[in-house]
Symmetry: C2
Subunit: 202 residues, 2 copies
Amino acid sequence: MVGVPKRVDHEERRRAIAEALWRIACARGLDGASLRDVAAEAGISLGQLQHYFSSKDEMLVFALKYLGELAEKRIRTRLMGLAVPPSPRDVLRETVLEMLPLDEESRTGNLVQIAYFVRALHDERLRGHAREGVPALRAFFADQVRSGIARGEVDSSRAADAEAMLLIALTDGLTTYLLLEVCTPDEAKGLLEGHLERLFTP
Amino acid sequence: MVGVPKRVDHEERRRAIAEALWRIACARGLDGASLRDVAAEAGISLGQLQHYFSSKDEMLVFALKYLGELAEKRIRTRLMGLAVPPSPRDVLRETVLEMLPLDEESRTGNLVQIAYFVRALHDERLRGHAREGVPALRAFFADQVRSGIARGEVDSSRAADAEAMLLIALTDGLTTYLLLEVCTPDEAKGLLEGHLERLFTP
């Protein structure tokens, strides 16, 4: 039977395809992955896949956005476990810990993101999409720092926006060294805790 | 004529092959690169290449070590330009600035290193080689922090080894965001300067 049964939810099928793409990205990167490979991994025909994505680019961008949404959801869920109202320091700590590759799901997310990053280095359009998430994360972190300053927990000489970017870059660098097994999870956590400890010293 | 003229220096030829490998890594990553591709890029036959490297692995490891040697040499040259004796803070600043992708040569070096990193994620042996350089760099940075403490320029409560790893991770993360064009060169430099400024506040 050609085509897709009407009752299959369009968005759900697009997500299943994105997840097939991630499994490939995680196992061997994105460069070799054709639409045909992804269709096979998702257990559908190439024609069916093309019903949802007309090009590899369109599929990559959708899967990247969906990856960002899932990461954000994981962070939100984790933050909901904090005392109410949570302190800015706890929010920052829990967010960066959720970003690190410390469990299988976030490890997979990080590996997929690296596959995107590598492709984006040679692809201006994908580079634009790959950086899309950063300003929002940076603004969120900067808000926490400003809130820390307002509460007298962070020295007022700290530039919130710079501190936010430092923390993002640090988390990203530690991700690399965790994946290379240069750092242990405990060490990476300790380094981030130490960094926040000094930031939250008025 | 089969074989290689005796007068061609063996090490020099291995380096020329490594440089051909880097050009490929820089343009499209390492995964697709066969010995035949590298030979073509180096302008020699596959047989000639195999005279120097019997496997792709051997070639990758040699080229990775040579890349590390060149990066170290660039850093040493830059440090030789400092006042004598250089302050620990200047040594740290100039070293991390040399590591960032701020000119064409270090950008190329970083792109090649990322190609290795991605391959190492799925290759235990290469991962071992990819982390080889980190302990030496970390020890070097930690020495500078300890020297700063001894000179009364760094608070004695700072853990030199942890500060060293923080600085390495931060530099690495900023490299990612420079390559993605999230940060400008000036911003990345400013963030590292600010981080060192606070470290060197007794």
